[in-house]
Subunit: 206 residues, 2 copies
């Protein structure tokens, strides 16, 4: 069986990453990595669905045993990507998506050189700004912070291998899937196949 | 307007290249490059449809004026790819397909480094052999020659960037299109876009 691919998705807050990923799971059967966290579950959240909820001790133990591909601390809580799920899914031939920040993405690439790094963006910054404004829930101050954050993230865009514009949702979802299909057609990923073809031809013409 | 891509398709005789290309034109509106040739038109062939029919003098003049991207002689006839059509279509944003042999493909890549080189193959050599046999029109001798030719072509497979398996036709057609979509998402092809985003963010947060 062919191994699945590891796809790392980052992008501006407000670019619609979450919706794109949801559609990739629905439309192309991608597997979504679930993070581990030490924060308390909110109402309606289930362990193993939104997150794996861990105590700080459990989380530290995961780190010690190399059980996380990457992790980070936000405010008082820890968040990380459990290694086992990702590796089991890939071994089973499933394409796995990780949605993580820039720094985490770079850490993943260092450990999994075949991981595909994709940055999702709106077609321009006006669109990003308007989406954040139209949510209605964000104060002016929060929006200004988001913009400053986007400016920071933009400097890391060139560390990604692919830049996908989320203008039309289905087009964006299809583009991400195209990148994954294309990777599997690369000659570097067809070495065994090519050797097989050559051997079969040798048999046939001898 | 974004420029179109130049896609060079080669592959084993019997792998179904012609059908794949026909579907790419129908389904994804690719533009197919038409060759120039000095051979006589056959019954039902129209100038500018199957081929551009040229006299030897006209063909030589095309070569002299750098009007062909690549050309070759088979038996007593010349065949070549007119440059103007390819460049006009690309400038107009169309993706252009060239179906040419290995040597021609390498010549095209040398002149157009952004050209995408795709090799189309059956999933194995038994399938290729059986397709040639089932055509019924080929003698044993011809089939043996085709196999010997395939063995030669197989040694050039690794000069292609992508190896696409034509098992299910639609899957193969979609895979070729995925490669083209994926190329346009590469960060190397998004330089202007990224500069634009950064400038817009600078404007927004200053």
């Amino acid at each position: 069986m062919n191994k699945g691919k590891l796809i790392v998705v980052s992008g501006f807050s407000g670019a619609g990453k979450g919706t794109v990923i949801k559609r990739l799971v629905e439309k192309y059967d991608y597997s979504l990595s679930i993070s581990a966290t030490t924060r308390q579950p909110r109402e309606g959240e289930t362990d193993g669905k939104e997150y794996y909820f861990k105590t700080v001790d459990e989380f530290m133990s995961l780190i010690d045993y190399n059980g996380l591909i990457e992790w980070a601390q936000y405010v008082d809580n820890y968040y990380g990507t459990p290694r086992k799920f990702v590796e089991d899914e890939i071994a089973a031939g499933k394409n796995v998506i990780l949605e993580i920040e820039v720094q985490g993405a770079m850490n993943v690439k260092a450990q999994y050189p075949n991981a595909i790094l994709i940055f999702i963006t709106t077609k321009d910054i006006d669109t990003l700004y308007n989406r954040l404004v139209s949510r209605g829930s964000e104060t002016k101050d929060v929006i200004a912070k988001r913009m400053a954050r986007a400016a920071e993230e933009a400097t890391s865009m060139e560390n990604y291998e692919f830049i996908v514009i989320n203008d039309d949702l289905e087009e964006c979802v299809d583009a991400v899937n195209s990148i994954v299909v294309s990777e599997s057609c690369k000659k570097e990923n067809r070495t065994d196949f090519m050797i097989g073809i050559k051997n079969q031809l040798d048999e046939r013409i001898k």
